[in-house]
């Protein structure tokens, strides 16, 4: 496997009218890396992720993902990305199995029994094999996030985006989800871009991170999250890791 970056943000910026969310943002995500975007509320974490998955075109700079400019993503590159939205974004009228089967139905010629087998394996990988026939309304928030990951894994993408995977979960469920992410990376070789502000989760799973700051309108720190926690001299970084009000 090469070490060419799979995500390459080149001086990207995002503005909404006169309001600039961030500018001059540069970073790279490497294969098999768990890369965390962190920062306080309103700093542009989710906006940056929406640029990476092609939902939002940067107002300046280039966002390259898997070698494609995400300003105009085509279906071929979107099939190679998995995205888990904050609440799971499951289709309420389908069972969990049908939710996971949907991308396979849309993008492959596999027969139905094969699609069911593949979807059942994906649910098994996230520990939901016994819940395959339940509706999203019948499962907990943590299970919905797990199913969201299973659906994102449906097409075996090399890169997974997770938006706030630990938000709203109890510590035990959150730790289980962190372990799942580590397992998937180890066993499937998937790279992750994780948007989060949950400190325990960031410190458990993150290989590298960038920290965005609303006041600075951009990146204020880059590196190993544990090193940033222990060694950063920037008071904003210290405030974040020590949970101090600014």
């Amino acid at each position: 496997m090469t070490d060419a970056p799979i995500v390459d943000a080149q001086d990207v910026a995002q503005s909404f009218g006169a309001r600039t969310v961030f500018e001059h943002v540069n970073f790279q995500v490497l294969p098999r890396e768990i890369f965390v975007i962190l920062g306080g509320s309103g700093c542009g974490k989710s906006t940056l992720m929406r640029q990476m998955i092609g939902l939002l075109a940067p107002t300046a700079g280039r966002m390259m993902v898997l070698g494609h400019d995400m300003r105009a993503p085509d279906a071929a590159v979107l099939k190679r990305l998995g995205v888990m939205f904050q609440g799971g974004a499951l289709f309420g009228s389908k069972t969990l199995l049908e939710n996971v089967m949907l991308p396979l139905e849309m993008h492959t010629d596999l027969p139905r029994d094969a699609r069911e087998d593949l979807a059942a394996v994906k649910l098994g990988l996230v520990g939901l094999a016994d819940a395959a026939n339940l509706q999203p309304a019948e499962i907990s928030g943590g299970m919905a996030k797990r199913c969201g990951i299973a659906r994102a894994l449906a097409l075996d993408p090399p890169l997974l985006f997770l938006d706030e995977p630990a938000a709203g979960l109890d510590p035990v469920t959150s730790a289980g989800l962190d372990q799942l992410i580590l397992d998937l990376r180890a066993q499937l070789g998937i790279s992750f871009v994780v948007v989060s502000h949950e400190l325990n989760s960031i410190l458990t799973i993150g290989d590298r991170c960038i920290m965005l700051d609303r006041g600075a309108k951009g990146i204020i720190a880059t590196g190993d999250p544990r090193a940033l926690r222990d060694g950063s001299a920037d008071p904003r970084v210290q405030d974040f890791f020590k949970r101090r009000a600014a």
Binding site: L110, A114, V121, L125, A129, P136, D156, Q187
Partner: protein
């Protein structure tokens, strides 16, 4: 790819076994395994890596008796993971026992129980008046009644016009065109006015009640109301029921008057002045026709309202439940209206009204 070994046939795989390759090989591989009675070997020596799709194919083939040979460490580890993931089977979905007759009977019993609950809540209102929110009653009256006026008038006008035109054709053969007025007036007052007003109410307001209350169920708002010690029926159902009881006679009357306007227009084209039409209509209509029609309209409105609220409050969970509740409200409302209309017809006949 296929080749023959000494004992059992062997399939030689070459190249990465990823999702596109798996999609191309799935049926072929499993058919080959089935053809050999499961006694087949899958040679993976030349497969550098596979993803979970490829590992699933291998696991499925293995479960059907195929032997895997030559897998590298990475594939072996992934295969172990996939075997584990496949090991836990989901509990089969239990299909809901469905029988149109028993379902219908259950719905009727539920509806009657809910009607009883609503009546009890209505009787309790004098003892706890603050739970009956007058502001809600006015808002619902505006939404369900005032805003429905243009639609009701247009539909009534067109219905009167069409009825008069259609009935004038046979009556003209007997020189009895003036009796078109009797026919249309009595039809509108006794039957079509209340019936059409109720159908409009079911489509426009009954569905809205069901969707609104169903969404409240989905969002746990009804549970929140109940845990605050507030009776949801008193707070949410009674204002809706009272609003429809208030507006339905008015809507039915408007529809009937609009229909008579349409009829007058057609009669004008047949050479009858408006004064003659009005005189004939006054002669044809009895007070019992008017009052009976308005009573029917109120009862139909109450039925549509109660059914809309019942389906909304009985909605399940998830976005589909709201849609199902709205559909059930419209279907149930129209069905109940027709059944009640039949009951009224028999009742009025027996009472010589």
């Amino acid at each position: 790819m296929p080749a023959s070994g000494p004992a059992r046939p062997t399939l030689h795989f070459t190249g990465p076994l990823d999702l596109p390759a798996t999609a191309a090989l799935w049926t072929q591989t499993l058919n080959a395994a089935r053809g050999a009675g499961g006694k087949i070997t899958l040679d993976l020596q030349n497969v550098p890596h596979c993803d979970t799709a490829g590992a699933t194919l291998l696991a499925v083939a293995e479960a059907r008796g195929a032997e895997l040979r030559g897998a590298n460490a990475e594939i072996t580890a992934l295969l172990a993971r996939v075997r584990t993931a496949r090991g836990t089977k989901a509990a089969p979905a239990i299909p809901r026992a469905s029988n149109p007759l028993t379902d219908g009977a259950r719905a009727a019993v539920d509806g009657l129980a809910f009607l009883g609950e609503t009546l009890v809540a209505a009787l309790r209102v004098p003892g706890r008046p603050r739970m009956f929110v007058l502001r809600d009653l006015l808002a619902i009256t505006d939404e369900a009644g005032v805003r429905a006026v243009p639609l009701v008038m247009l539909l009534g006008f067109l219905m009167g016009l069409i009825l008069a035109f259609q009935s004038s054709i046979p009556l003209r053969q007997f020189g009895a065109e003036i009796y078109v007025v009797n026919l249309v007036t009595i039809s509108l007052l006794r039957e079509l006015g209340p019936l059409l007003a109720a159908i409009i109410l079911a489509g426009r307001t009954g569905s809205a009640f069901a969707a609104e209350l169903g969404t409240m169920v989905v969002n746990d708002e009804i549970a929140a109301i109940s845990t605050m010690g507030i009776d949801p029926v008193t707070m949410l159902v009674l204002p809706r029921l009272a609003a429809t009881l208030l507006i339905m006679p008015g809507l039915a009357m408007l529809l009937e008057l609009s229909g008579m306007c349409g009829m007058t227009l057609v009669m004008g084209t047949l050479g009858f002045p408006a004064s003659a039409v009005v005189h004939q209509a006054v002669q044809a209509a009895r007070l019992t026709d008017i009052v009976g029609g308005l009573v029917k309209a109120s009862v139909f409105g109450a039925a549509v309202s109660v059914i809309g609220c019942r389906t909304g409050l009985g909605a399940g969970l998830g976005p589909r439940a709201v849609g199902e509740a709205a559909t059930a409200a419209v279907v149930g409302g129209i069905f109940a209206t027709i059944v009640l209309d039949g009951v009224f017809t028999i009742l009025f006949y027996r009472l010589h009204l």
